[in-house]
């Protein structure tokens, strides 16, 4: 493993969260497609989503979307303002801070019905 800095970790996370969101989209397209087998089948499949396991993965999805979005903004800013490159590390920690601020309360709200 190359011991890169914050930028490399941000990039790796960006890839993984991107793939995670893509995986969700595929599943989502498939589950919507189930409607062609009639409303009853569709409802049965949808009921699966109420399983706690799905709830938890939904929190994971929210985390993935949130990080991917925030880091995407970071990269866009740094690409348009290369002169701020010297502060890329602070930008990354900014992303982490905003992520925690938004994610923790959202996760709480999402998981609350489970308990």
């Amino acid at each position: 493993m190359y011991r890169g800095g914050e930028g490399q970790w941000a990039w790796i996370l960006h890839r993984f969260t991107g793939l995670g969101v893509l995986l969700f989209l595929v599943i989502h397209i498939l589950d919507t497609f189930v409607i062609v087998f009639g409303p009853e089948t569709y409802d049965k499949v949808m009921a699966l989503y109420r399983h706690p396991l799905f709830r938890v993965s939904e929190v994971g999805l929210a985390a993935a979307v949130l990080f991917h979005a925030l880091n995407g903004i970071r990269i866009t800013i740094l690409d348009f303002f290369p002169e701020w490159s010297g502060r890329q590390r602070q930008f990354f920690y900014g992303v982490v801070a905003v992520f925690v601020l938004v994610f923790v309360p959202s996760a709480y709200v999402m998981l609350k019905p489970l308990f």
Partner: protein
Amino acid sequence: MKITLRVKRFEAGRDREPYWAEYEVEAEPTDRVLDLLHAVKWHQDSTLAFRRSCGHGVCGSDAMLINGRNRLACKVLVKELGARITIEPMRGFSVVRDLIVEMEGFFAKYRSVQPYLIADGEPPANERLQSPEQRAKFDDTTKCILCGACTTSCPSFWSNPDYVGPAAIVNAHRFLFDSRDQAAEERLALLGDRDGVWRCRTIYNCTEACPRGIEVTRAIGEVKKAILLGRR
């Protein structure tokens, strides 16, 4: 202090797989990693192969992967690394022998950006004048010593060896932002192509790897912007 030096060794055409060799070396904390390699080569195992020339961070011969990061062996001191030091050849180039990698592809990309001043028309009687402000625009990228540390720290380069790479872009930047140069269009066309600057994912490994402290990612960003906005 006693140093345990682990070196990834391989000889093309002889070994089937790279293997790790371990050496015990006595060293001062202020010794350079290059001194350790010399100690091994001169007193323990003369078959160990590596490149070096100036020994002072100027020629760019001895970039290698030291404790997981690209560094010049002649610039990094033992005290920065501790008693266990691991050395591997730079990633993404094929290994010729031990720490010596094949760099012809790297230099071919360097040449492809035409890293020299191109100015048509009659040369002026005296020098081509330039203001300090104009000079400052590309000052950072004049410092490159072509060691390969940036290019071989780049994940985009590892996964796509056709990517022109940070080093070539730095050297293109050197002339793109030089007010005396007139070949920007050709260089930007090359760098705006599939395997040009857009392979860069703004990861910053190159900036952190550069032994000369060049803000490589910033230079790449400036070239991206020049292509996108059509001005420099």
